[in-house]
Symmetry: C2
Subunit: 143 residues, 2 copies
DNA sequence: CTAATCTTGACTATTTTTGTCGGGTATATA
DNA sequence: TATATACCCGACAAAAATAGTCAAGATTAG
């Protein structure tokens, strides 16, 4: 049970931008080098982040990406929504009366998975990019 | 981000045994029919559950499986351990000083994923089969 | 004996993940 | 205006993980 690389990279890259944020656009090339992520893969990811208005792009020489909002406003859940990371533990359609096994009622584990799903989503709703930067700074200086 | 079918089936099947627990062994065939899970796949899963002492097997006619412990003693985390479900969010070796990206220090997202990992494992450590049965009963009768 | 049941290891099909490739288009700056 | 630097986009492909199947056997109640 883990996050996809796509999602991890998305958060990594955004955190990179946020920490280098001198109001100048950050190029994917730089992120790629600093974070060791394939440039072309990053392009894919940022296409989605842009469509979902998490970042703004500036084209041309000295271009790159900037965050659309303050890091404290960017929740993990928004990022994951943008890159199609879904926390899906329940295997049935929630609205339907039917269960995941094709039976006419919910399976015995349904409510457990539902609870787990809420539990995890809660984490992603509470955490934002700002928290990440702060935490990171704390832990690093604490050495 | 989701659990594997193997893990879901394991919990489902164990819950099935627990709720039919009249001290009689429950055959995989019955579970397969009731829960709509491939019999052969269940065999694979139960092989692991047995090795990890979650269930005991009784061979021969009228054989089947019984739980090794009281449902309240069987934590989700034990079940997942048995079927190799791993909650792995951090992508580096935790003990090492090195990061997931081959760099010499931990990446900027490391502490976030570490926190998430603990958070999720906490859920699995707190929940047991008994909780599941109780919850399920409540929710169903509440209609 | 024989039918029901567990036991085991190898094998395979499908899906998902993790990217690459090859072509664009826009723009700052010399 | 030329050029290099960047973003933009859709199709494709390798690799890994998942979700099983298949075949052959061992054990035991009745
Ligand atoms: S997960 Fe919803 S019915 Fe099984
Ligand atoms: S996850 Fe540990 S260093 Fe990146």
């Amino acid at each position: 049970m883990k996050l996809s690389s796509k999602s991890r990279y998305a958060v990594m890259a955004l955190a990179d931008i946020a920490s280098f944020n001198k109001n100048k656009p950050v190029s994917l090339r730089d992120i790629s080098l600093r974070q060791n992520i394939s440039l072309v893969f990053l392009e894919q990811i940022f296409s989605k982040l842009k469509k979902n208005n998490i970042v703004k792009s500036i084209r041309g020489t000295n271009g790159g990406y900037v965050l659309s909002n303050d890091p404290n406003q960017i929740k993990l859940s928004s990022i994951f929504l943008a890159v199609d990371e879904k926390v899906k533990q329940v295997q049935c359609k929630k609205e339907s009366k039917k269960g995941c096994n094709g039976k006419s009622s919910k399976c015995i584990t349904h409510y457990l998975w539902d609870e787990l799903e809420l539990y995890i989503n809660d984490f992603f709703n509470k955490k934002n990019l700002g928290d990440l930067l702060k935490k990171n700074l704390e832990t690093r200086t604490e050495t």
